[in-house]
C-alpha cells in the first residue's frame, strides 16, 4: 500500500465521480434558464465530465508512477518489491511463484447503516482496473458530450417530430429538450462512475439500477414516439429479469459471508474486516478458490444446529463454537457451501447478462437504438453494457469453474447469434448494435475461458472503437436523415472525415493487423482490436488444447464470429461510403458534420488505433490490467472436475499465439473479401444470395424469432393471467367496493342532515343573536361630540357618587 495513493486516489476519483452529479443537480434546478435555450447546460455538463477526465488522468498517472507498468512475466518479481506486505502471509512457500494479492485501496467514506454484522456503506475499491475504467469512461464521455453539443442542436428550438403523427393528422410540435438531454447524460456518467468506484456490492447494485434508469430516460428521449417508449420499457423490464438473479446472488453472498465489501478495510478499532475477495480467495489457501467458512456453515445448517443442540446443556457455550469450527474443514471436503458459491456467482452473472445484453436477454439492446445517437454511443460502448462485463470481471475471483463455463457458453452463443443477425440488418445503427452484442459476447467468452485480462482489455479497446463507430453512424444519420443503409452509398466524397474515421473504426473492430508470422515479430502489429481480439482467440485456443470438447465449440464460435464481424462491418462501410449513390435525393443533401462533431471522431479514431499498443513501462493497457488480477486458480469444479483453466500467460507463448493470430487474420480477411465481393466491387448481387438462402435469410432477418418466442412464452401468458385477474377485480372486488361505497354514502347522508339542521342551526342562531345585539348597540355611537362629553361627565359623577357611597358604608 502506498500512503500517497491511499490518500489521494479516493479524493481524485471521488471528484471525478461527483462532478457529473453536481452538473445534473444544477441542470435540474436551473436548466431552462442556462443561457439561450439552455445551451449553458451543455457547457456545464461538458465541463464537469472534462474536469472529471483530468482528475482520472492524474489518478492514472499517479498509479502508474507508483506501480510501474512492466511486462506480465516480470509482474511476480515486481510484486515482491512492492509494499503490499499484509497479503503475503502464507503465500511464500507455495510453489515456485510468489503469489500476491493485487494492489488495491479500499475504504469507507460513509456508513449508511449497520445491521448486525452487515455494514452498508458508501465505500471505494480502487485498483488498476478501477483507475483504467475511470480514465476510459471519462475520456469517451467527454468526446460524446462535445459531439452531442453539435448533434443535438435541433433541440435548441421548437421541434416538429415527423415520426409522430397526432390524431388530427398533424406532426407533433413540441419545445426543445436540449438541457434535459445533458441533464440525463450527467446523471448517466455519475451512475457509471459510481458503479466503477463502488467499494461494495450493495453500492454497485444501487448504481447498477441508476444506470438502468438513466438508460430508460435516454432511450425514451423521444418519448412521444411509440417505438421509443416501447424500447425504453423493454430495456428496463428485460434488465429487471437479470437484476432478479443478481439479487439472489447478493443474498447468497450476504448469507454466507456477512459482508458486501470487496476488499479488506481497516475498522475504527484497528482490526481488519475481510472483504468478499479475501474470504473467497484467502492468502491462507494460496489464493485458490475456497468456500469461505461462513458459506460452509450456512450450507451445513442442519449439522451445525445439531452440534449446538448437543451443547445446549453444556455450561461453556464457547465449546459449541469451537467444535463447529473444528468440523468446518470436514464439511468443506463434502462440498458443503460450494453450491451457495455457485449460486452467488451465477446470480451475479445473471445481472451481467441483463446489463450486457447477453443471450437470452440480448433483445433490448438493438431496440435501444431509438435513443439519440450520442446516447447509443455512450450506452453501448463505455457505460451501460460495459458495466456488465466490468462486474463480471470484478467478481471474477468469486466464480467457480461451473459459473465460468456458464459465462463462456453464454458469451459464445451470444457472439455467434448476434453476428448472424447483424449480417442481414439494414439499419446502420442496428448493425452496430448487434455488433456490440457480439463483441460483448467475445468479452464474456474470454472471461469464461480464463482470459481475464483479455476480456477486460477487449472491453477497453472496444469502448473506443465502438463509440467511434456509433458517432460516425450518427454523423451519417445527421447528414442523411435516414438510418437505412440501402438508401446510402458513395458518401465518402461528401463526408471525408466521417468516412475515413469510420474506416479506422471498422479496421479496429475486425482486428486488422499483421499476425506474428516472423520469429522476431512476436506479437504482430495492428490496430487496437487486433491485440485484444487476438488475445481472446489465443486464450480460447489454449482452452481448447486443455479441454477438447468444450474448447472446440467455443473456439469455433470465436473464430466464426471474427469472420462474420469482418463481413458485416465492411458490408456496412461499403454500403454507406463506396459505390454510386443509391438515393440521389439523400446524396445531394448530405454534408459533412460541423467541426464540434468530427473532432471527437478524430480523437476517438486516434485512440482506437493506439490504445492497444504496448510501450514497455509507459503505455500498456494489458500490463495495467495485469496488476489488478487476483492470483491463484479457481480450483477443481465439483460438477466439472476435469475442466482445466490454462494460465493466461500460456496464451502468450509464440506457438499458441501464432495459431491464434493466423486464425484471426485469415477469418477476418475472408470476411472483408466477401464483403468486398458483394458490396464493394459488386461482382455478386446480394439479392441473388438472399434468394438462394431464403429460409435462412428470413430467419436471420427476424432475429431468430426471439421477440416472437418471448411473445409466445412470456407476454401472452402474462396477458392471459392479467385478463383473469382483471375479470376478478372487476366483478368481485369492484362489487364489494361499490357496496361499501353505497353504505358509506347512506351514513354520510344522515351525517349531512345532522350537520345541516343541528350543528349549523346552532351556529346560525348564535350568529343571529350576536348580529342583533350589535345592531341594537349601534345606536349608541351617535357621532355627536357634545353628547360624548356629557356622557363622560355623567360617568364621572356617577363614579364619584358610587365611591362616596361605598366609602360611607
Amino acid at each position: 500500500m502506498n500512503e500517497t495513493l491511499a490518500a489521494s486516489l479516493p479524493t481524485l476519483l471521488g471528484i471525478a465521480w461527483l462532478l457529473p452529479l453536481v452538473s445534473f443537480t444544477l441542470i435540474v434546478l436551473f436548466g431552462p434558464r442556462m443561457g439561450k435555450h439552455g445551451i449553458g447546460a451543455a457547457y456545464l455538463a461538458t465541463l464537469a465530465i472534462v474536469v472529471g477526465f483530468l482528475c482520472s488522468a492524474i489518478a492514472l498517472g499517479m498509479w502508474v508512477s507508483v506501480h510501474p507498468l512492466s511486462p506480465a512475466h516480470a509482474a511476480a518479481e515486481e510484486h515482491a518489491i512492492d509494499v503490499g506486505r499484509e497479503h503475503e502471509a502464507g503465500a511464500a512457500e507455495h510453489g515456485h511463484e510468489d503469489l500476491k494479492a493485487p494492489n488495491y485501496y479500499a475504504g469507507d467514506l460513509y456508513t449508511l447503516g449497520q445491521f448486525g454484522k452487515l455494514k452498508v456503506t458508501i465505500g471505494y475499491y480502487i485498483d488498476a482496473l478501477t483507475v483504467g475504467m475511470f480514465a476510459m469512461v471519462t475520456l469517451i464521455a467527454s468526446c460524446i458530450h462535445f459531439y452531442a453539443i453539435g448533434y443535438m442542436h435541433d433541440e435548441l428550438h421548437d421541434v416538429t417530430d415527423h415520426e409522430v403523427v397526432l390524431s388530427d393528422g398533424h406532426h407533433l410540435h413540441r419545445p426543445g429538450r436540449f438541457h434535459r438531454f445533458f441533464q440525463y447524460l450527467s446523471l448517466f456518467c455519475f451512475s457509471m462512475l459510481g458503479l466503477v468506484y463502488a467499494g461494495n456490492i450493495a453500492m454497485v447494485f444501487v448504481f447498477w439500477e441508476l444506470v438502468g434508469i438513466c438508460s430508460y430516460f435516454l432511450i425514451g428521449f423521444y418519448i412521444e414516439r411509440k417505438s421509443a417508449s416501447n424500447a425504453a420499457n423493454k430495456a428496463f423490464i428485460v434488465n429487471r429479469v437479470g437484476d432478479f438473479g443478481m439479487i439472489i446472488g447478493l443474498m447468497a453472498l450476504w448469507a454466507g459471508l456477512g459482508t458486501f465489501a470487496f476488499g479488506d478495510t481497516q475498522e475504527a478499532d484497528g482490526s481488519i474486516s475481510h472483504g468478499i475477495f479475501s474470504q473467497v480467495r484467502g492468502a491462507d489457501s494460496h489464493y485458490e478458490l475456497t468456500v469461505p467458512d461462513g458459506m460452509v456453515r450456512a450450507a451445513a445448517y442442519q449439522m451445525v444446529s445439531e452440534v449446538s443442540v448437543d451443547h445446549r446443556r453444556n455450561p461453556d457455550p464457547l465449546a459449541a463454537e469451537s467444535e463447529i469450527a473444528a468440523r468446518v474443514p470436514n464439511y468443506r471436503a463434502q462440498h458443503y457451501g460450494y453450491w451457495l458459491l455457485v449460486v452467488a456467482g451465477v446470480g451475479i452473472f445473471c445481472g451481467c447478462v441483463g446489463k450486457s445484453a447477453q443471450f437470452p436477454l440480448h433483445v433490448w439492446l438493438p431496440d435501444a437504438m431509438e435513443g439519440p445517437t450520442p446516447v447509443s454511443a455512450l450506452v453501448h460502448s463505455a457505460t451501460m453494457v460495459a458495466a456488465g462485463v466490468y462486474l463480471a470481471g470484478r467478481f471474477y475471483p468469486v466464480f467457480t469453474p461451473e459459473a465460468r463455463l456458464v459465462i463462456a457458453y453464454t458469451g459464445g452463443i451470444t457472439l455467434f447469434l448476434a453476428a448472424t443477425i447483424a449480417i442481414t440488418a439494414t439499419d446502420i445503427k442496428r448493425v452496430l448494435a448487434y455488433s456490440t452484442v457480439s463483441q460483448l459476447g467475445y468479452m464474456m467468452l474470454a472471461l469464461g475461458v480464463g482470459g481475464w485480462v483479455a476480456g477486460l482489455f477487449h472491453l477497453i479497446t472496444h469502448a473506443f472503437f465502438k463509440s467511434l463507430l456509433f458517432l460516425c453512424s450518427g454523423s451519417v444519420i445527421h447528414a442523411c436523415h435516414t438510418n437505412e443503409m440501402p438508401n446510402m452509398g458513395g458518401l465518402l466524397k461528401k463526408m471525408p472525415w466521417t468516412g475515413w474515421t469510420m474506416l479506422v473504426g471498422c479496421l479496429a473492430i475486425i482486428g486488422a493487423g499483421l499476425p506474428p508470422v516472423f520469429p522476431f515479430w512476436p506479437f504482430g502489429f495492428g490496430l487496437s482490436g487486433f491485440y485484444s481480439k487476438d488475445s481472446i482467440i489465443a486464450q480460447a485456443y489454449s482452452f481448447w488444447t486443455a479441454n477438447p470438447t468444450h474448447g472446440m465449440i467455443l473456439f469455433a464460435a470465436a473464430a466464426g464470429g471474427a469472420s462474420m464481424t469482418a463481413f458485416y462491418m465492411f458490408r456496412l462501410w461499403f454500403m454507406t461510403f463506396i459505390g454510386p449513390p443509391r438515393d440521389h435525393h439523400i446524396y445531394d443533401h448530405a454534408h459533412e458534420s460541423p467541426r464540434i462533431m468530427y473532432v471527437p471522431l478524430v480523437i476517438l479514431a486516434t485512440f482506437a488505433v493506439v490504445i492497444g499498443w504496448t510501450l514497455s513501462g509507459v503505455w500498456s493497457v494489458t500490463d495495467l490490467l495485469e496488476q489488478a488480477r487476483w492470483p491463484g486458480e479457481a480450483g477443481e469444479g465439483v460438477l466439472l472436475p476435469n475442466l482445466v483453466y490454462p494460465n493466461e500467460h500460456v496464451s502468450h507463448e509464440p506457438a499458441v499465439h501464432l495459431i491464434a493470430g493466423l486464425t484471426a487474420f485469415s477469418t477476418a480477411l475472408g470476411g472483408v473479401l466477401l464483403a468486398f465481393v458483394f458490396y464493394g466491387a459488386r461482382w455478386l448481387n446480394p439479392a441473388e444470395a438472399r434468394q438462394q438462402f431464403a429460409p435462412i435469410y428470413t430467419f436471420l432477418l427476424n432475429k431468430w424469432y426471439f421477440d416472437e418466442l418471448y411473445q409466445v412464452l412470456f407476454v401472452r401468458p402474462v396477458h392471459f393471467v392479467a385478463a383473469i385477474v382483471a375479470w376478478f377485480d372487476k366483478q368481485v372486488i369492484d362489487g364489494l367496493i361499490h357496496n361499501l361505497a353505497r353504505w358509506t354514502r347512506g351514513v354520510a347522508e344522515i351525517d349531512d342532515l345532522i350537520d345541516r339542521y343541528f350543528v349549523d342551526g346552532f351556529v346560525n342562531l348564535f350568529a343571529a343573536w350576536t348580529w342583533s345585539l350589535g345592531n341594537s348597540l349601534r345606536g349608541m355611537q351617535t357621532g355627536k361630540l357634545r353628547q360624548y362629553v356629557m356622557l363622560i361627565v355623567i360617568g364621572t359623577v356617577a363614579l364619584a357618587v358610587i365611591v362616596n357611597f361605598a366609602s360611607a358604608q
Partner: protein, 114 residues
Amino acid sequence: MNPLAEPVGVSHFMAVGAVMFVSGVVCMAAKRNALGVLMGIELVLNGANINFVALSSEFLSSNGKSGLGLDGQFVALFVIVLAAAEAAVALAITLNFYNNHATVDVDRADELKG
C-alpha cells in the same frame, strides 16, 4: 366673620378651580361651535392647573407644608405647554374641517357614527 380678613387656603383655590372646570365642561357640552368647544377645553385645563399650583404652595395650608412642592409647578408648566400644542393641532383640525365642510358645527361632524 369677615371673609376678607381670614387667610385663604388651598381649598379656596380649589373651589375656584372647580368652578372653572365645570364651566369648561359645560362649554364643551353645550357649544355647537368647534372653537367654543376648544375654549371649553382651555378652561378645563386651567381649572386643573389652579389645583396644581395651589397644592405646590407652602403657605396656603395650615401646617406650612406644601403637598406637591415644586413638582406641582412643573406639572402646571407642562400642562400649559401641552395646552398650547393641543390648541395648535385642534385649530388646524378645525380649519381643515371648515375647509372641507364649510361649517364649524360639531354636530355636523358625525360621519363616524354607527
